[in-house]
C-alpha cells in the first residue's frame, strides 16, 4: 500500500485531502456521514475578528459544471470559533486549519495572535474572498498587497502560515513569490474565480451580490495551470484546489505541483467525495508502483 501521508510546513497529514474553507462549516454537519478523521485536514469556514451576518440571498447560482456563491463570510467571529468550535474539532483526529479574513492588517494580526495561543494546527490567510468589499481581496490581487499583509501577519502568527491566493490576478507566479518572500510557510490555491449570472426574464443578476465566486469542475483547468505556474516560482509547499471532483483531478493537481489538496464544491455533489477520491488515489499509486503520494508532487513531464 502506497503511503498517503504528506507534510505541509511541518504539519503531518494522514492523507493529502483537506476540506476547503467555506464548504465544510466547522465540520459538524459532515461528521454525520463519516468520522472526520477520514480527512487529512479541515480548513474551517473563514472567520473574521467580529461576527459577520453575510450577504442577502440569493447567495447561490448554478453554472455549467460549477456554481457561484456570494455567502459573504457569514461567521460567528474568531472568539466564538476558539471557544465553541475549536475544542470539538480538536477531538476529531484530523488537522485543523483556521481560515482568517479581515478588513485591515490589524484585524488579521489580532486574529493570528489569538489563534497562536490555541492548539489550532495551521493558519490560512484568506486574502482572496471575492464576495465582500473588505474581506481581504484588496490585499490579495497585487504583489505589494500580498507581501505587506503576509509580512505583517507573520510577525504575530506562531503557527504555520498558509496564504490562500486569488486567481483573479494577471500573474499568479509573481503573487506566489511575493507570499513566499514575505514569510509564508505554504500557499493554498486557487480561491474562486469571480463570475456572474443574469436571469434573462427579470434582467436581474441571479445573485443578490451581483457577482460571486465560481467553483466546481469548471475551475479545474485554471487551477491546474495556476498551480503549475506557481510551483515553478516557489519552494514552499502548495496546497492545490479548484474543481477537484474525482481522484483523477487530484492526481492532476499533484502532478502540477501541489503537495496536498483541498476539496470543496465536490461535497455538495457527493458528501462522500473525499472518501472516493482518497481510495481512487490509493489505487492509482498502488497500480503504478508509486511508493508515496509525495512522489507525485510536481512530477509532471512538461513539453
Amino acid at each position: 500500500m502506497a503511503d498517503l501521508q504528506v507534510n505541509i510546513a511541518g504539519v503531518p497529514l494522514k492523507n493529502p485531502l483537506i476540506a476547503a474553507s467555506g464548504t465544510f462549516g466547522f465540520g459538524r454537519e459532515y461528521s454525520e456521514f463519516y468520522p472526520l478523521s477520514t480527512l487529512g485536514g479541515i480548513s474551517c469556514k473563514g472567520i473574521t475578528l467580529r461576527e459577520r451576518p453575510g450577504n442577502p440571498p440569493p447567495r447561490i447560482a448554478e453554472t455549467p459544471s460549477g456554481m457561484l456563491n456570494a455567502v459573504g463570510l457569514q461567521n460567528p467571529g474568531v472568539d466564538h470559533f476558539i471557544e465553541r468550535d475549536l475544542p470539538w474539532l480538536k477531538t476529531q483526529g484530523t488537522v485543523i486549519i483556521a481560515n482568517i479574513a479581515g478588513n485591515t492588517p490589524e484585524d488579521y494580526c489580532k486574529m493570528a495572535e489569538k489563534l497562536s495561543g490555541t492548539d489550532v494546527d495551521m493558519v490560512e490567510l484568506n486574502i482572496s474572498c471575492p464576495n465582500v468589499k473588505q474581506g481581504g481581496v484588496q490585499f490579495g490581487t497585487s504583489c505589494a498587497g500580498v507581501e505587506s499583509i503576509t509580512a505583517a501577519v507573520r510577525r504575530f502568527c506562531k503557527k504555520p502560515l498558509m496564504v490562500k491566493l486569488s486567481p483573479n490576478v494577471s500573474d499568479i507566479g509573481e503573487i506566489a513569490a511575493a507570499a513566499e518572500a514575505a514569510g509564508a510557510d505554504a500557499i493554498s490555491m486557487i480561491n474562486t474565480l469571480t463570475g456572474m449570472r443574469i436571469d434573462i426574464n427579470t434582467r436581474r443578476p441571479v445573485l443578490r451580490n451581483n457577482t460571486g465566486g465560481l467553483s466546481g469542475p469548471a475551475l479545474l483547468p485554471v487551477a491546474v495551470r495556476m498551480v503549475w505556474q506557481a510551483s515553478r516560482r516557489v519552494k514552499i509547499p502548495i496546497v492545490g484546489m479548484g474543481g477537484i471532483s474525482q481522484w483523477q483531478d487530484a492526481v492532476e493537481l499533484l502532478l502540477a505541483g501541489a503537495s496536498a489538496l483541498q476539496i470543496g464544491t465536490a461535497f455538495f455533489t457527493d458528501p462522500y467525495a473525499p472518501v472516493k477520491i482518497r481510495d481512487g488515489l490509493q489505487q492509482y499509486l498502488d497500480r503504478n508502483g508509486v511508493a508515496s503520494v509525495a512522489e507525485l508532487t510536481g512530477a509532471i513531464r512538461p513539453w
Binding site: T23, F33, P56, P57, I60, S65, Q74, T265
Partner: protein, 255 residues
Amino acid sequence: MKYDTMLCGLIRKNRLAEDIFDFTVEAGKLAEAACPGQFAHIYVPGKTLRRPISICEIDRDHKTLRFVFQVRGEGTRLLSQAEPGDRLDILAPLGRGFDLGGTGRKAVFVGGGIGVPPLLEAAKPFGENAAVLAGFRSGNAVILKEDFERAGNRVMIATDDGSSGHHGLVTDLLAGLACDVIFACGPTPMLKAVCRAAKERGVPCQVSLEQRMACGVGACLGCAVRLRRETGEEYYGHVCKDGPVFDAAQVVWED
C-alpha cells in the same frame, strides 16, 4: 443516523399534470428517519448541485418516500426522465419539518401550486380536523386533491382562471374559516398573506420556505433566509438546516 445518501430504486412514476411528476422510491433507513415537511437533496447526473425536493409522503411500513415535483429547469427536467427501475442518489431526510402538535386541533393547510405536496404528510394525521386550501393556475394543474380527501381532510380548491373551485386567490378561502393552527407552503406573496391572516387572528402559523441551495446540510450557508429573534434582532438563518419550516413570526420578508 440523522441523514445519509442512498441509492434509491424508483418504483412508481406518474405524471400528475403537464409539468408535475410523482415519484415513489425505496428509501430504507431514509424513509424510517423522515418527518413531514423535511426534504431530500437529489443528485442529477452531470449537475454540480443536487436538487432539493420536499417529501410528499412517507411510508415507514414499506420504507418508501414519495416526491411530487415540478419541472422548473434543466435539472428537474433531467430528473423527470428517470424511469422505474432506475436508482436515484438521494440525500435525506434533511431540515426541520412541521411541528404538528396536537392533531385534535383544527388545522388549516394552505398550499400554492408546487407548495401543496409538502403539506400532504403533515395533513394526514389531522384527518377531518384539517381543511386543505389548495391554489393552482387552472383546473388541469390541480394535484393531490384525492390524496388529502383519502386522509379525511376537507379540500377547497382555488384557481387563477376559475376553471376549478373558487375563482381567485387561495387565501380568499381563509375568510370565515376558524382554526387553531395554520401550515403553509407556496409562493412568497401567498405566504405573506397567510402570515398576515394568522397574525390578525392570533393563530400560530408555520411556513415552509425555499431558497437556492448548495450543501443541503447547513455547512455552506448558501440558502440564507432573514429571520428575527424574539429580542427583535435580525439575522440570516438557513433554509436547509433551520428550516425549511419556520414559525411565521420568525420570518422577515425581504423585497
